[in-house]
């Protein structure tokens, strides 16, 4: 057997993050008393990884580790966004954790390992690595959900998340094994070839695809695999909820793309039908259930379900009766939607963290009462986020919805677009209720907002970026489009 030492350059960022995770672990074990060390090292790791991701790998698609790892523009763009999301989420969550005596080095260590898991998922070109990355991310998230170990609610949430997540992993693995059985290949390129030359058995493939879809749907949190989302979002410490609701969505999007588009593109007709079913159900159920919530974390969870449904609409519109010329536009619309959702999700949960203080969780919508009187600036920021989530024009959420709907209409599913618009109009109700509460109700308490300076700055940047990208979405749209174009063709 002749073995060539693999090229490490494309995976330099992963190797760097893995090494830094070990460094942070040792720092956490031997320099526990230095409180800022783990946090600083984590942020430095993310910055370093970003620099490596920008400068080291080549722009072209390159494979390494016997074809298990792929470095392409699609992956690298998503990785950069993941670093950004994790970094911002950690920055927002820091004060919250410190107030509750949960700011232990392990938290940051798990966050770094979670980031590594997401990077592996994003760059996976092999069912095995995809699965391992997914497990690494999920395990770290389960642990962080239970981080407030004396709280019954967060323990319960972690337990639910873990049990259901393990079930979903099992379904995913079962689907993967069927696909392996049918195609005899584990890496995506070979699977694609096997499908193209039709050497694989179609019945077994479809059987596997169903299980695969169940696993993906769970990780994205779309109906009917959404049950964990509200409970986990509500039960987990808000800082962790923020982490769950941001970067992992990008990773789940990448996983969906890698599995369905990069590997199983030949089965597009079949999985598009399944995705359409999931998307329609999610949009309807997410929006309707969110109306009834009084807890803002729960409300945002249901809104997240509907947003994920919207994102899937972009994937539904790729292939129309065998024609693929619409595909890149549709997929880049979905990618744009995912990025926009992560930005909005960061800002909305960040706001909940901003209002929380020691011994007080700003979890109820009523806690936002009269925010305008207490802090007009942050009330405006929250308004931007809510408007953007509702899809009101000239915020990023509007363009995300617009792009997705355009591609859906271009694919000829007008009824789907109409349904989606109707549901988002209904959904606007609960977003606007938050705005109404902030501006027209009397404040329940007038304690000044107490938050570290860097968090206030970041919060403002985050809110303004939603508005700014709403005014000039072309750059981000183009980035998504070029990333997919460079990676898929």
């Amino acid at each position: 057997m002749n073995f060539v030492v693999p090229d490490f350059y494309p995976a330099a960022a992963e190797i760097f993050v893995a090494v830094m995770a070990l460094v942070i672990m040792l720092a956490g074990a031997f320099a526990r008393s230095v409180r800022w060390l783990a946090y600083t090292l984590t942020q430095l790791t993310l910055v370093g990884a970003a620099l490596i991701t920008i400068f080291v790998p080549s722009v072209d698609v390159s494979y390494t580790f016997s074809g298990m790892f792929v470095s392409d523009l699609f992956g690298n763009v998503l990785k950069l966004l993941i670093y950004l999301a994790v970094g911002v989420a950690l920055l927002y969550g820091r004060g919250y954790l410190a107030d509750r005596r949960m700011e232990r080095p392990e938290y940051y260590l798990l966050a770094v390992l979670m980031t590594l898991g997401m990077m592996v998922m994003v760059s996976a070109n092999h069912l095995l690595t995809l699965y391992i990355g997914l497990e690494m991310m999920s395990l770290a998230l389960y642990g962080m959900t239970a981080f407030d170990r004396d709280s019954v609610r967060s323990t319960e949430a972690a337990m639910k998340y873990f049990v259901l997540g393990a079930l979903a992993s099992g379904l995913l693995l079962y689907g993967m094994s069927m696909i392996y059985g049918a195609t005899g290949a584990l890496d995506f390129v070979s699977i694609k070839d096997a499908l193209y030359f039709q050497t694989a058995n179609k019945t077994v493939l479809l059987f596997g695809l169903v299980f695969l879809m169940a696993g993906i749907a769970f990780k994205l949190g779309v109906v009917p695999f959404h049950m964990w989302v509200p409970d986990v979002y509500q039960g987990a410490p808000t800082a962790v909820t923020l982490l769950i609701a941001s970067a992992p969505k990008l990773a789940a999007f990448a996983m969906t793309m890698r599995l369905l588009v990069f590997a199983l593109f030949e089965l597009a007709e079949q999985w598009q039908a399944m995705l359409m079913f999931l998307a329609v159900l999610s949009i309807i159920l997410g929006n309707l259930a969110a109306i009834a919530q009084s807890n803002i974390k729960r409300m945002l969870a249901y809104s997240g379900i509907s947003h994920m449904g919207f994102m899937l609409l972009g994937l539904v519109a790729g292939v129309v009766s065998g024609e693929t010329h619409n595909a890149i536009t549709a997929y880049s619309a979905a990618m744009f939607y995912a990025v926009a959702y992560v930005l909005m999700s960061l800002a909305s949960f960040g706001m909940v963290l901003l209002l929380a203080r020691a011994g007080f969780e700003a979890e109820e919508i009523d806690d936002f009462k009269g925010l305008n009187k207490r802090s007009p600036w942050f009330a405006a920021m929250m308004m931007i986020v809510m408007f953007s989530m509702a899809g009101i024009p000239f915020f990023i959420g509007f363009f995300a919805k617009l792009a997705v709907l355009q591609s859906v209409v271009a694919a000829g599913y007008v009824w789907l677009a109409v349904l989606a618009v109707v549901m988002s109009v209904i959904g606007a109700f609960y977003y606007l209720r938050v705005v109404k509460v902030m501006y027209f109700d009397a404040p329940a308490d007038d304690a000044p907002i107490h938050a570290p300076a860097e968090m206030r700055v970041m919060m403002s940047v985050n809110g303004l970026s939603i508005a700014a990208l709403g005014l000039m979405p072309q750059g981000l749209t183009y980035l998504c489009w070029i990333a997919l174009l460079a990676s898929l063709t």
Partner: protein
């Protein structure tokens, strides 16, 4: 039916029986012991497939370590089985229906039509002296080094989570540090004092 097929069905019967007992045994300790039996038999089935490394590692890791600790926990817990069984009969019809449906569907897809010996013939026998363990080692550290290293990090995550969630210092408990005890020297404990002899 040749000898190998006979052994396969024999082990298969034990495996199915043990697996059924795992979920039907009233006593959790018995259930855990049946699980041990199931693992052991599954190891036997793998041996039949010439996967001796996997079989032995299954016995070593699951039977020898994981299940020991599992039993350890189950024996110390006072599990009220009766309470766990509440609602069993009311859920049974739905559960049984779904279970049977799943079995039927899987038999249709996974039956001999797609995975039978005609579609996937038995691989040729390995040459004399072929070592499964060596072959696995060869690919594990070369071709599959990336997922292998990542898997070790997944285990690290599990370890960190387990330690973070369980390690806590209770107030008011006094710990003895065996390291200090082992490091004790004579000088720390005994002092020789020279005294002049006393007269009565």
């Amino acid at each position: 039916m040749d000898f190998k097929t006979f052994v396969f069905y024999f082990l298969g019967a034990i495996l199915v029986f043990a697996a059924l007992r795992v979920i039907t045994a009233r006593n959790p300790v018995h259930a855990a012991l049946y699980l041990v039996l199931a693992f052991f038999t599954a190891g036997g089935v793998w041996l039949l497939l010439h996967a001796e490394f996997l079989a032995i590692v299954l016995v070593m890791v699951y039977v020898g370590a994981v299940m020991v600790l599992f039993l350890f926990v189950v024996m110390m817990l006072d599990i009220n089985v009766e309470r766990l069984r509440q609602g069993f009969w009311s859920y049974l019809p739905v559960g049984a229906l779904i279970g049977i449906l799943l079995v039927v569907e899987m038999t249709i897809v996974l039956g001999g039509r797609y995975f039978g010996l005609e579609v996937m013939p038995e691989p040729p026998a390995m040459a004399e002296g072929y070592s499964n363990t060596r072959a696995l080692g060869m690919v594990l550290y070369t071709e599959y080094v990336y997922p292998f290293e990542l898997a070790s990090l997944v285990l690290l995550v599990a370890m960190i989570v387990a330690v973070t969630l369980t390690l806590r210092k209770r107030k008011g408990t006094k710990y003895i540090n065996p390291d200090d005890q082992v490091a004790v020297k004579r000088e720390g404990r005994v002092e020789l004092v020279k005294m002049p002899a006393e007269k009565e």
